[in-house]
């Protein structure tokens, strides 16, 4: 076992993840199905929210992964900027659609939840708003990758965008918090803090979160492999053109 930078070699990365992928995917399916089935069929209703509390098993893990995917992209971008490992840039690219999907799931389940709880699909609540902004960041990031032809140029540009974007995402979070103060009292009717969530809700939620994490890892492996292969294909096609 050498340094972890060995996995920055595309061939090595593909070989290793090929071995890991079946296990990770199997675990992800088990945890995801387990958590969701447990949550959906075998938990009681909340005394205040009724059956809608079951949405939590999708909503919270998706929200968590939406943020974590961005963090992973940030780290991968930094690695690309500093050490210029191609796999790391491609992993960031591979993670973006997953993060965007998670953001969409959090937004949609939240909106559906909001309808019975707040009587409205959408409320400019700080949390919801910052998620909308996060979604825009994802969109811009993916669009930039798609728009630039040269792969290394695209990697450079998107990683700078990811860096600057992260700073502004944090800034927006504070801005949004500040902005909604005083104007909007009773609306944030979310459950109490995690500690106060009863154990009946808590354990299936943990399993579900684990399922989402594993799913994310499996998808990142798979999609990074795809990106590597696509890139090698492009390189080979270019080579054909030369000869």
């Amino acid at each position: 076992m050498g340094s972890i930078w060995e996995y920055a070699n595309p061939r090595k990365f593909i070989a290793t993840t090929d071995k890991l992928l079946p296990w990770v995917s199997a675990l992800a399916v088990v945890a995801l199905a387990g958590g969701l089935i447990w949550g959906f069929f075998f938990t009681p209703e909340d005394y205040r929210q009724g059956a809608t509390v079951k949405i939590i098993y999708l909503h919270v893990p998706a929200a968590l992964m939406a943020i974590n995917a961005w963090m992973m992209m940030l780290v991968a971008s930094l690695i690309w900027i500093v050490r210029r490992h191609h796999v790391s840039a491609l992993a960031a690219r591979a993670a973006a659609p997953i993060g965007a999907t998670m953001t969409v799931i959090a937004l949609i389940t939240g909106a559906i939840w909001g309808q019975p709880m707040w009587g409205t699909w959408w409320e400019w609540d700080p949390r919801l708003t910052s998620f909308l902004i996060l979604f825009l960041f994802y969109l811009g990031y993916m669009a930039l990758w798609a728009a630039v032809e040269d792969d290394d140029t695209a990697a450079d540009l998107t990683s700078v965008l990811c860096l600057v974007g992260s700073v502004f995402a944090i800034l927006s979070r504070y801005a949004v918090n500040f902005w909604n103060q005083g104007l909007h009292q009773g609306a944030s009717l979310s459950l109490d803090k995690q500690e106060n969530v009863a154990d009946v809700f808590y354990y299936p939620l943990l399993v579900s979160i684990a399922g989402f994490v594993l799913l994310f890892v499996a998808l990142v492996f798979l999609r990074t492999q795809t990106e590597i292969r696509a890139r090698r294909t492009r390189a080979l096609l270019a080579r054909e053109r030369v000869s």
């Binding site: 811009g140 630039v148 700078v160 502004f168 800034l171 504070y174 902005w179």
Partner: protein, 218 residues
């Protein structure tokens, strides 16, 4: 450096330059909104500071792609890159020129347009201050977005999409400050935040812009 600034300003004010484009767009937004929401002046005066800020921001957004695109198309940017000017200076000058031709006129025109939207009297001063503080940040952030998308054929859409979330904090604090001013609440916090964003953006973003511009030019 000063030559570049003068040239950019001159290009902007010549026929077909971007000068007035932002202002006209600001005017368009301000004129259309009453047609859209109806002429109820109570409602208008409530949304006036917000609409003015949104209008200013859109006007800024629209003029962004001129910052580098024209120079890119006719090859001047290649030539500038080989000129004896550091890229950071080029980027900063471009942002300054953008502010002088777009941001500043917007600030000066805002009171007049405030009239059209029946902005309450107490709103003028905080609105002006917030615009004066906030528009430089819009120009600098926008220059970064323009530098990111310069090589891309008609990157206009992408540019707006990339810059939009970056503009959110500035907009929130700016409009909030104007609104608070109208309601007589304290405005120090948003003022400080706005000033902080602007200073931070001016101090740091030119380096990021220069870096991505260098990448895009190769």
């Amino acid at each position: 450096m000063i030559a570049l600034l003068i040239r950019d300003l001159r290009l902007a004010v010549r026929a077909g330059g971007g000068f007035g484009l932002g202002l006209a767009f600001f005017l368009i937004v301000v004129v259309l909104v009453p047609f859209g929401v109806g002429p109820n002046s109570g409602l208008l005066s409530k949304i006036a500071p917000g609409i003015l800020w949104v209008g200013a921001l859109l006007a800024c957004l629209l003029s962004l792609d001129r910052i580098f695109a024209l120079d890119w198309e006719d090859g001047s940017l290649d030539l500038l890159a080989t000129a004896p000017l550091p890229m950071e200076a080029i980027v900063s000058i471009k942002a300054l020129a953008h502010w002088l031709t777009t941001g500043l006129p917007l600030v000066l025109a805002a009171p007049v347009f405030g009239l059209l939207l029946s902005l309450p009297e107490a709103g003028y001063q905080p609105l002006l201050i917030s615009l004066l503080l906030g528009t430089p940040a819009l120009s600098v952030i926008g220059t970064f977005g323009a530098a990111l998308t310069v090589g891309l054929k008609r990157g206009g859409l992408l540019l707006s999409l990339l810059v939009l979330p970056l503009y959110v904090p500035t907009l929130i604090f700016g409009a909030e400050m104007a609104r608070r001013g109208i309601e007589g609440l304290e405005t120090t916090t948003p003022l400080m935040m706005l000033a902080g964003i602007t200073c931070g953006a001016i101090a740091l973003l030119p380096f990021a812009s220069a870096a991505v511009l260098r990448v895009n030019l190769r």
